[in-house]
């Protein structure tokens, strides 16, 4: 398998560039980011706002690496920085680790209940939060915004304001007509611990349960119900008992026919 990839790489010889990560000379395709190259070679760089299926954002600053040679080095986010010819990259210098720990501490101070961030904190030895805790359960990593726009083609949510007033919301803080209640934003969020919190104020991002027509399948098992964690909303059973029953029956009969 590895050999096959290397063979393929050889055929693209002219597009390849060489760079150094942690002293190791590595080859990369033009256009790859440092993070992608590092991953390919099995070098671990922690990430949070990065997702393979989404565009690169560079907001959480966890994937920082140090580039350049002494004394002119700087920290860049490896998920957005393109691999360049003869670039020198180091992923675990003291400067990187200190910055990374501070980022985790900052994130923890606004979303202390997030399992993902807690895990990161324990992994990197962040033992205390010296800031005042502000439980916002959002670190504005933008995963939900990109998920909505890029994977779901929804564009129902976005960033609002700037600086310390920045938040994620729907346009004009009212329920968005673009929202199809797919739940993609909730699925990908690393910080909302409770995920679904039931019906909320008009200004809330989700409020899927308030809709008259949820996107549930006609029949489903428990695992498919995306409100399972919070206690099923029950809309499907309450409103369309006949329908779901009849469909189930027809499918069953179809299967019987097939088997026969």
């Amino acid at each position: 398998m590895r050999l096959a990839i290397l063979m393929q790489l050889k055929s693209n010889e002219e597009k390849m560039i060489t760079l150094k990560i942690n002293g190791l000379e590595v080859r990369a395709e033009e256009g790859q980011t440092i993070l992608e190259v590092a991953k390919f070679y099995g070098l671990e760089i922690p990430t949070l706002c990065y997702n393979e299926g989404l565009s690169h954002y560079g907001g959480c600053r966890l994937c920082l690496v140090e580039i350049g040679e002494e004394p002119k080095t700087k920290l860049v986010s490896s998920c957005t920085y393109p691999a360049e010819e003869s670039l020198v990259v180091r992923t675990d210098t003291k400067r990187v680790i200190e910055a990374r720990k501070m980022m985790i501490e900052l994130m923890l101070s606004v979303a202390p209940n997030s399992k993902i961030i807690q895990d990161l904190a324990s992994k990197f030895g962040v033992k205390q939060v010296r800031f005042k805790i502000r439980n916002e359960e959002c670190i504005l990593c933008g995963l939900c915004v990109r998920m909505c726009a890029e994977q779901m083609d929804g564009r129902a949510i976005g960033f609002q304001n700037r600086g310390y007033k920045r938040k994620i919301s729907t346009p004009f803080d009212i329920r968005s007509e673009e929202c199809r209640l797919c739940g993609g934003c909730i699925y990908i969020c690393p910080a909302c611990q409770l995920r679904c919190q039931g019906p909320q104020a008009d200004t809330a991002v989700c409020n899927a349960c308030l809709t008259m027509d949820p996107t549930c399948l006609d029949f489903y098992d428990d695992l498919q119900c995306w409100m399972y964690d919070a206690g099923r909303c029950g809309t499907c059973i309450r409103e369309k008992p006949e329908k779901s029953k009849s469909k189930k029956q027809t499918q069953k009969s179809k299967q019987k026919e097939k088997n026969a």
């Binding site: 560079g58 393109p82 360049e84 994130m107 960033f159 700037r162 600086g163 310390y164």
Partner: protein, 621 residues
């Protein structure tokens, strides 16, 4: 308005400029030059103009004198001011009621009005000639100087001082490589803040392959207390245009944008007018002056976000997206506006180009230091006698700017620090007053050149409070993309606020430094990377002041309300009742000719008593 004739060849433009220059030379009428930039208008220059017109009409002088409304003359403290040509008499703080005197005495009788003259604070003498005013004397106004000569709404006025000659020179006698080489040799560095060599920037954009290229003029000036770019756009828009047209020609750009703040209505008006005049004349559009060079210029109005001064955020804003920076590389010279090669320069940088082309690289490189050439415009504000825009040669010392040009600190107070480079800059203390002002020295001192804000502070300024002010600005203006900058500035502000409220504890300072350094290290763009400067530089130079706040819970400058206490010095109190009367809280009690008593529990520390007392009997500690 008179229709402008379209000019089709370089020769025609040459002739037009020649005739305008001759017309200016042969003009013998006295001219009253009134400064009416935004600052002048705020001080009432429009009313002055109206009453001048009226006075001239009354005296039947309409054919014998001319009023010229110009942009800012730079001397804000003396606004609205009038320069009477040809004698070059400088009248300051002119009121509408003075109009009659000016026409009847100065114009008719050729007499100087003494009470309108500027008084030299050092000698106490009145100065009549503009050139002898200390504020102007030490300046080198190669860019800003034209502001006093021309009416920004009249294109012919710009032509009459030899404007657009550089364009002729560039289009007729120079190749594009030669222009770039000239700019490179001149040593011009970006005036927007970072100080990147302009010639090299142009070369990158020129060398990138592509049919469509753009240039952008960055006029998104957002620093508190800075207005250099505004004055240039208001007072001399054609100079910026000329620089941009030359730049577009050298880079090979067919289209350009001027990104200007919507908060600058007069600048927008003047630059729009200049663009339409240049279009009518044929200096913008297709086949400029008969060559095969095409160039169009548009205006984009920014909505006032500080972060949009950053190149990539600015590009996003021009494209109609949210103004958020993105990763560089790819640099705008490779992938900029709409994905095409783009070159962005600051207003002041563009305004330097005509000079360099006209006089050659030596025109700029003969001024300044080794690494920094030419002049830099600073807006000198804060606790200073002569507030205003100053254009000084690079390498001049801070002492010269503040004490010789700025006239020192008002009220005989002590100088404490000067803040350069706007919110992302740093504070430079008294001990470093002899520091030469150039890119390298300022960076070494923990500050930056920035776009040219220069805020002077006196002994009554608390440096912790200053850091708090700038952090408050930055936490609001951060775009909020990177957690390091958004949360970093917010948390730094929280810690500094705690310190100013007496809630600071041991270790705060070290923690603050660590957080500031991380914010600087981990952020994506220039805003985040410099956001720590106000904190780091004040800690570096004024650590004892922070420690006084944290350990002794005292504010040595007497600014931080939670840490100060007003009290009455018994020996000095004469019992005059002055403080008692002004106290809004009725916290002071007492009788006539008896020592007053201040009730601390009622005091809100508004300083009203301190200002009312004539016997220095109120103490702040």
């Amino acid at each position: 308005m008179r229709k402008i004739k379209k000019i089709k060849t370089i020769k025609d433009l040459e002739q037009l400029i020649h005739s305008q220059v001759q017309a200016r030379k042969s003009e013998k009428k006295p001219v009253l030059t009134v400064s009416a930039g935004t600052c002048g208008q705020a001080r009432g220059s429009l009313q002055v103009i109206k009453s001048l017109e009226k006075a001239i009409k009354e005296e039947n002088l309409e054919d014998k004198v001319k009023i010229k409304v110009t942009g800012c003359h730079g001397f804000c403290e003396a606004e609205p001011n009038i320069i009477v040509q040809p004698q070059n008499i400088f009248y300051q703080k002119v009121q509408p009621k003075d109009a009659k005197d000016i026409t009847s005495q100065t114009i008719i009788n050729n007499k100087v009005i003494d009470q309108l003259l500027f008084t030299d604070l050092a000698t106490g003498k009145k100065v009549s000639n503009e050139k002898n005013i200390p504020f102007y004397k030490k300046q080198k106004r190669i860019i800003l100087g034209d502001n006093t000569l021309i009416d920004p709404t009249d294109m012919n006025d710009y032509l009459s001082i030899g404007g657009y000659r550089s364009l002729i020179k560039a289009l007729s006698g120079m190749t594009q490589e030669e222009i770039i080489e000239t700019v490179k040799q001149s040593g011009l560095r970006g005036r927007g803040g970072a100080g990147f060599p302009t010639g090299y920037k142009w070369e990158f954009a020129r060398k990138t392959k592509g049919d469509t290229k753009y240039i952008i003029c960055n006029a998104d000036e957002g620093d508190p207390g800075a207005y250099m770019d505004r004055s240039l756009l208001e007072g001399n828009p054609h100079r910026v245009l000329e620089g941009m047209i030359i730049g577009a020609y050298a880079i090979g750009a067919g289209e350009g944008y001027i990104y200007v703040r919507d908060e600058y209505p007069l600048a927008v008006e003047h630059i729009s007018l200049a663009i339409s005049q240049a279009e009518e004349m044929g200096l913008l559009g297709k086949n400029i002056l008969g060559t095969n060079f095409n160039f169009e210029l548009h205006i984009t109005k920014g909505a006032g976000a500080f972060v949009c001064g950053e190149e990539t955020a600015l590009i996003a804003s021009v494209e109609g997206r949210v103004g958020e920076p993105r990763q560089r590389p790819p640099f705008p010279a490779v992938k900029g506006l709409w994905g095409k090669p783009t070159n962005i320069n600051n207003v002041e940088t563009w305004a330097n180009i005509p000079l360099i082309i006209e006089k050659g690289p030596q025109g700029l490189s003969r001024i300044g230091t080794n690494g920094s050439k030419g002049t830099k415009i600073f807006s000198l504000v804060g606790k200073i006698n002569n507030t205003g825009l100053v254009e000084v040669p690079m390498g001049i010392s801070l002492r010269e700017i503040i004490f010789d040009i700025g006239g020192g600190i008002p009220g005989g107070k002590d100088f404490k620090a000067v803040q350069t480079g706007g919110p992302s800059g740093g504070c430079i203390p008294k001990e470093m007053l002899d520091l030469p002002v150039d890119y390298e020295s300022l960076t070494k001192a923990g500050s930056i050149m920035g776009s040219g804000g220069m805020i002077v502070m006196d002994e009554n300024t608390c440096m912790v409070d200053v850091a708090k002010y700038f952090l408050n600005f930055l936490r609001d203006e951060s775009c909020g993309k990177c957690i390091s900058c958004r949360e970093g500035t917010q948390r730094m502000w929280e810690i500094v606020t705690d310190i100013t409220e007496g809630k600071g504890s041991r270790g705060d300072l070290e923690f603050l430094e660590a957080l500031a350094k991380t914010t600087r290290d981990a952020s994506l763009c220039g805003l985040g990377q410099t956001a720590a400067n106000p904190v780091l530089s004040t800690i570096r130079h004024f650590r004892d002041e922070y420690e006084a706040h944290i350990k002794d819970k005292k504010c040595p400058a007497g600014v931080c309300k939670e840490l100060i206490q007003y009290s009455i010095i018994e020996e000095n109190c004469t019992g005059c009742l002055a403080c008692l009367k002004v106290c809004p809280q009725e916290a002071i009690s007492g009788e006539l000719k008896k020592v007053h008593v201040l009730d601390q529990s009622k005091c809100i520390k508004c300083a009203a008593c301190y200002e009312a007392c004539n016997f220095d009997a109120i103490k702040i500690e």
